[in-house]
């Protein structure tokens, strides 16, 4: 082989696998972050419920704190359970 790769620098972009473009709680896009954060990504992660809805972690935590009893998904009103894929 007269031509071989010595090294290769690839580039990839990542985004959240979400079933919607925007967070159902704060309405900000998932590519951005929740209103309390400045930077999207690891600093403002997404979390999924077992109902398959997802939110900014900061948004759903706040939501759940405001619902002492009957913690439900704000989208489908099923009981909220974190889905730890």
């Amino acid at each position: 082989m007269k031509l071989t790769i010595k090294n290769w620098t690839g580039v990839a972009t990542w985004r959240w696998v979400a079933n919607d473009d925007n967070c159902g709680i704060c309405r900000m896009p998932f590519d951005g972050c929740c209103p309390d954060c400045k930077l999207p990504g690891d600093d403002c992660p997404l979390v999924w419920g077992q109902c398959s809805h997802c939110f900014h972690m900061h948004c759903i935590v706040k939501w759940l704190q405001s619902q002492p009893v009957n913690q439900q998904c704000p989208m489908c009103r099923q009981g909220w359970k974190f889905n730890n894929k």
Partner: protein, 788 residues
Amino acid sequence: MSRHVSKIGDPSPLKRLDEPQISKKIRLEIEVDENMSDNSPDRNRRANFSNVNGVNRNLNIHSVKPTTKKLIIKNFKSEPKLPDDYNETTWKKLSSAVIAIQQSKPNEYLLEELYQAVGNMCSHKMASELYKNLFELIDAHVRSNIEKFKTETMDRLLFLKKMNDTWQSHCNQMIMIRGIFLCLDRTYVLQNPNISSIWDMGLDLFRKYFMLHTLVQTRVVEGLLMLIEQERQGDKVDRILLKSLLRMLTDLQIYNKAFEQKFLQSTERLYAAEGQRLMQELEVPEFLAHVDKRIHEENERVLHYLDSSTKYQLIHTVEKQLLSEHINNILQKGLDNLLEENRLHDLSLLYQLFSRVKNGLQELCHAFNAFIKKQGRTIVIDPEKDKTMVQELLDFKDAMDNIVASCFKKNEMFSNSLKEAFEHFINQRTNKPAELIAKFVDSKLRAGNKEATEEELERLLDKIMVLFRFIHGKDVFEAFYKKDLAKRLLVGKSASVDAEKSMLSKLKQECGGGFTSKLEGMFKDMELSKDINVAFKQHLNINTPELMPLDMTVNILTMGYWPTYLPMDVTLPAQMVKFQDIFKEFYLSKHNGRKLQWQPTLGHCVLKARFKAGQKELVVSLFQTLVILLFNESDEHGFEYIKAATNIEDGELRRTLQSLACGKARVLNKIPKGREIEDNDKFKFNNDFVNKLFRIKINQIQMKETTEEQKATEERVFQDRQYQIDAAIVRIMKMRKTLSHNLLISELLGQLKFPVKPSDLKKRIESLIDRDYMERDKDNSNQYNYVA
């Protein structure tokens, strides 16, 4: 006595220097007086007295208290009897002495004797008559002296000289006469407030006849004006004569009325005409130099012979006729040239002169501002000059800063005006200056820029920041800056991490953390990617030791930070696909809930290539890699085959082939030759490739950035603005719950950091109402309510 004479009437304090030369006798009198009035509250008297040197018209004899007078009389207790004809014989002596003085003849009596005689007469109540006799004698002499000039027809200068001689003799004579009659001043004059001192009497008489004979007075004044005019025309004149005669007018207290007014009028006439004429004849720098010279000369005139009270009006007249009247002309005719040609010396002079006249600096500042706006506009407005715009802006700013600092005395009015002007003109062209400033920074931060040392680069960045500060659409700058920063980071083309960080912190300082958070995110992604790649290499070693090795590094970008890249599907060789899949699996196992999108447009490789002449390393893009690798299978491929095999988008592929076969380093040969890539072209591996370098970078042929890519960036800025407007509206409405249209607009204009039109805001509000973020109030259509 002659040394005294030259100082007569000189009001300057310098005269005190002559004090020791006052005759001992006068000095003695003064001291006696002082002792005798010890109880008097009038302690300033001695100061007054010495101030006028004992010969001055201002001698304030009448202010001495009556107690003093009594004391003086007590000093002469025994009164000797005098012969009956004492008055007559003594006056004979005295008058002959006075006449001798007046005729400059030797005196036949001892001064001591005469002085004593006056004393005797004063103490024997003959003072009044003595004063009257003396008055008549002096009156007659002064009258005849002045009347002589009535019929004089001599030349003006000679006339002036003669008048000066007469005046000087008058003063000399009066000093001598007063020396003899001092007792009269000390007693009789002191006791009678309406009687002038002998010196003053002399002046009064001189003034009386001088004024009476208008012709004489006019000839003197006109003579003086003539001399001054000759001097103004550049001739040498007798300044001592001028000074002496002007002092005469001052001493006679007619300086103002008889001379000054006419002098100022003639000054005004002269300079009004001269100003008009020279404004036409001279270029502005010469004109300014001339004005400066004139002001200097007139100051000299005050210093050398004019009364200092004339100074203010004189200089004001010159300034008014030579400057105030021509402010606009000077600025219109000359300022632009001086600024363009950076004539610092002339600009300093201009500033210095204009600071003398009312509104001068305001007008100068105004014209300076207008110049910057006009000149600056030509730099930014012409698309032909885009290549040099930023450098020209930097140079222009440097030049104007320098002028404010070195010519305009760092005057804040000017430096503020300079800023205002820059901000004004730089925003005359929307977006372009912001874009070009971003690109300029890129060119300086990119590797291979070896023009500058770290310190020079730092200083340059600071200057760039000054320009950046003027830009209204800072988001346009950010978008282009980000695009370039991405290239520098991803292709490893950044010249210096320190410089990058420094620029970032400058931007942060200028615009706040919100502005730079995404840029910082990009740096953070690069850091994180390093860690991921280290972990990935370990992972490969442990899990897939059998895999054919490929040195793969992946930069993982967070979508929100980076410019948006269009995904492009291409066909990779099996080995690369394998590595991509392994990496993807590895990455997603570490990061839940994410998906990865490969960005082949951003990838690059180093290839090892064997040519006849030996092995080389080629630094190439991923697209170039895909094309070149095809030539392992066969030495020759057609365009259509390459297109099918790589699946690279048509335009992109043509550019890639151009770079490999038509650029500087041709590793492929195109058949037939030619610049454009045609569908039927064939490409052959160039086995004869030679290059003096071992590692060769084959540049991608850039897409025409000026059109497509740049439009895309602008479009992104536009969309981002829409998004920011939406977010701001929602934020404000969420906080206020209900708000009138106008208040909402004004809050928005306060919050948004880019130029927006109210009509655009209205569109966004409508859109948010459609999307149920807010609603129009049912009762008041001008009011909005937040919808929770």
